[in-house]
Symmetry: C4
Subunit: 278 residues, 4 copies
């Protein structure tokens, strides 16, 4: 029994370092992890740039491999230190972590997949967990709430905008024709979206007077309706109450992956597992 307890302690310690950020070592681990994530994103980006010195490519190549191997060990450690691995594997971060590691291995078999490593950018969202500054978490909760509350309304709005774009795109296709760059209806609808959202690349632009008149009308309408989603979010956000006090404890149960424990809790409130904080 002694040995088993010992073994359990080793796993539990690793669990605390990897999953939690309350102890100094846990915090250092998370900061190192974040730096490696940022580095690996920079590596993936730089590798796609042409015209750099060959030795840099070699450095990037090996750097990427070192980081990926580290991520692989981290992923395995996350699985073995938790009692119910499926809880982690199928969680949001579990899937992101797998997708961040796999592409480089796949690149042996399929060319170009290494660019998929950009999905690692999603791992950056862990930064909010480490910062643990209540206002950041509180605000993003409140923001998320306002966006969720506005969601249905903004979807209704965007749906109406897209119906409008299909109709006006077709009108512009008929008015301008192919010699102005409006080569097909889907392309005209694309142009209409580019215009309504005020992006305005200018790769396609109306040339005939009638087309320019209609385009001007589309812009003025777009200018008028850009106000609508803004107004919705403003009103929704203003009416939203301050979210309740947020629990900043980062302990995670090594048995069931439950994470919202109270400060000073000694046992998991869900499965009764020892949380191993002394």
């Amino acid at each position: 029994m002694n040995k088993k307890t010992n073994h359990k302690t080793w796993k539990d310690q690793l669990h605390g370092i990897i999953y939690e950020a309350d102890t100094p070592i846990g915090k250092i681990f998370d900061v190192v992890l974040l730096i490696l994530i940022v580095l690996s994103i920079v590596f993936v980006m730089l590798e796609s740039v042409k015209g750099l010195h060959d030795s840099l490519y070699t450095f990037l190549y090996y750097g990427e491999w070192v980081i990926t191997v580290f991520f692989t060990f981290e992923y395995i450690a996350r699985i073995i230190t938790i009692k119910k691995p499926s809880k982690y594997v199928f969680s949001f971060y579990g899937i992101i972590d797998l997708l961040s590691t796999l592409p480089l291995y796949l690149s042996f078999f399929i060319t170009g997949t290494s660019a998929l490593l950009a999905v690692r950018a999603l791992r950056l969202l862990r930064v909010f967990r480490i910062l643990k500054i209540s206002r950041y978490i509180g605000e993003s909760n409140r923001l998320a709430k306002a966006i969720r509350d506005s969601g249905a309304k903004i979807l209704v709005f965007l749906f109406a905008v897209i119906v409008l774009c299909i109709i006006m795109g077709t009108v512009m296709y008929l008015v301008e024709g192919e010699q102005s760059g409006f080569r097909s209806i889907p392309l005209s609808v694309y142009w209409c979206i580019v215009t309504m959202t005020t992006v305005g690349y200018g790769d396609i632009a109306p040339v005939t007077p009638l087309g320019q008149l209609i385009a001007a009308m589309i812009m003025v309408v777009g200018y008028g309706i850009i106000a609508v989603p803004t107004g919705i979010v403003s009103a929704e956000y203003a009416s939203g109450q301050k979210p309740k006090k947020i629990n900043l404890n980062t302990q995670v149960c090594s048995n069931c992956h439950t994470s919202d424990h109270k400060d000073g809790a000694k046992f998991c409130h869900k499965c009764g597992e020892d949380l191993h904080n002394e």
Copy 2:
């Protein structure tokens, strides 16, 4: 009399399937209709794309005809199953339905009219009727109210913007002249609208230092006044009360096309016609 009642039942059953979405068959009919609308819009769009395989054009051509014939039968069914067809024919959806069917027949006589089938996109608005999710309908009602309330103000605002664009467009025409692309006053006014709405294609752009100075001033002003309609809608939306409980019943009277019946109503509250729900 027996036969007449029988005949009435047949029409009434069809009326229930086509106009209402409360029964399983009525719902299936509406979903199939929506899929066909989306398909027909995709067909019209794809047909305008050049460079596809010939067999695809043949498929699109026949597909469009099959859908149009279905829409034609649906339109006729909608007319014969209602007692006062004029109520439907001159309603918003009645006109849209006709305009969605006619262009393909017209394309025998006039070339190019088949592109007008894009008006079918408006039929997509039926989707809100099928979804019948109260928050969607409620929100779009509240949104519509906020936009209607803001309408007069935003019109005053857009009118002032257009007067400003006419004057600044003329000034830019005088300052920049034809060699910079400001070839006429209407074109300069068009450029001014493109700039004020922050679309900025770049097909016409000031070249002289004075022109660029004036353009910079127009942009800063446009940047400042883009706030106005947004502010109006925000304030209007925030002050709007939640709309009253919405009636989600989709029954439509087969005699007078009235649609806002109470759940469980057995007779039309307007003309007394039997609503045929058991």
Copy 3:
């Protein structure tokens, strides 16, 4: 004395027709005036378009002259039917009316001045006077109040934006240099304004990686601060009370050009002049 009264009546009647819009003839006069203003703006715009048929230019030329002669008579009539002409001549509309008539006469001496006729667009603002729909006037009053209240704040904000644009423009000039189109500091500042306001013509765009990184930062900052003026106007507008009931009377005193009379007033509340309404 009889004759003098008669003479006064003639002037007073004309005054009523020209300045007021409460009588049928006064309303017809204002509508005809508005149509002529719109027509003359269209004429001036069309005249600048190249490649039209010669006979159209001839028509435009004579049409413009006919309208200008009418405007000249109207301007003279406005002066002689008022007892203190200086009250009208130096009012906002008095100056606009003069500037709308003069350029065509000046075009005999100086070429190109006829384009200045676009200032006539400002005369279109009279439309609000004719519409006399209380909500339009009320709304534009409330809007004007919100904009006036926000003015000082938005000026502070725009001043800070311009200081930022000068500094970032200089940085981009140093980073990108002349071969990328950033040919001088003023041009770089112009580019920075084009970018910050999200217009983005694309006639000048960063080419070097460092320049693009800085440009991306400018855009994200611009994206973040576009929220500021919008927020100001929203808050200001929302907090503004509904303006008091608006006086829709359009009577104007023929002696002192005072215009805010009560309905049914028989004498000017400022100078005691007879308002001649029976």
Copy 4:
């Protein structure tokens, strides 16, 4: 002792002129200073313009030197008239003032540094001190508060937008490839930021149908989320109380550089130094 008092008076008088704006001479000094700042910025900008007459460059060169010498004397005067120079030297304006003077001297040793004089634009912010119009200062305080309060939330938001841009930029790099101008992942991320912020230069634009579809989705999403920071600032600004009465006194203690004295105060409230106002 008499002489020492005299000497002190001379320094104190200069201190009053340079640092304060309550006396007529102090106000004139500040206005002259502002004009010189504006002039020197115009000089630096014009000097970068090619194709001007040679004599103008000579004029600009000497003009810049005259102003810089004046600024040098002003900087020295600011240091010697204050008892604790370090209080000024390391204040915000102290650093700006040094950075505004140094580059021209450095241009003897390093070419191109004279363009750094654009940092002088920051000195323009002194204008708010001279205007001393309470509403300007009050408003900028309230604005600053709203922006500071929104800061954390907007940072969370911008962070999420950048993560989204990295991922979508990589997707576009894979979809569009190099022949469409998406030459590397960093460039694609740059394009994604240009698009999301609705700037849309058009120097890089998707060409393939799939790329255009994804681009359209990015735009619609960008259009929807542009509402978020606006909503935050609006709500924050609307909920902000009016700032307390602002102290418009411009006296600055010649000993400890403290500036928020009450009107009519005779001694510094922090160090007890005589403020020398009679």
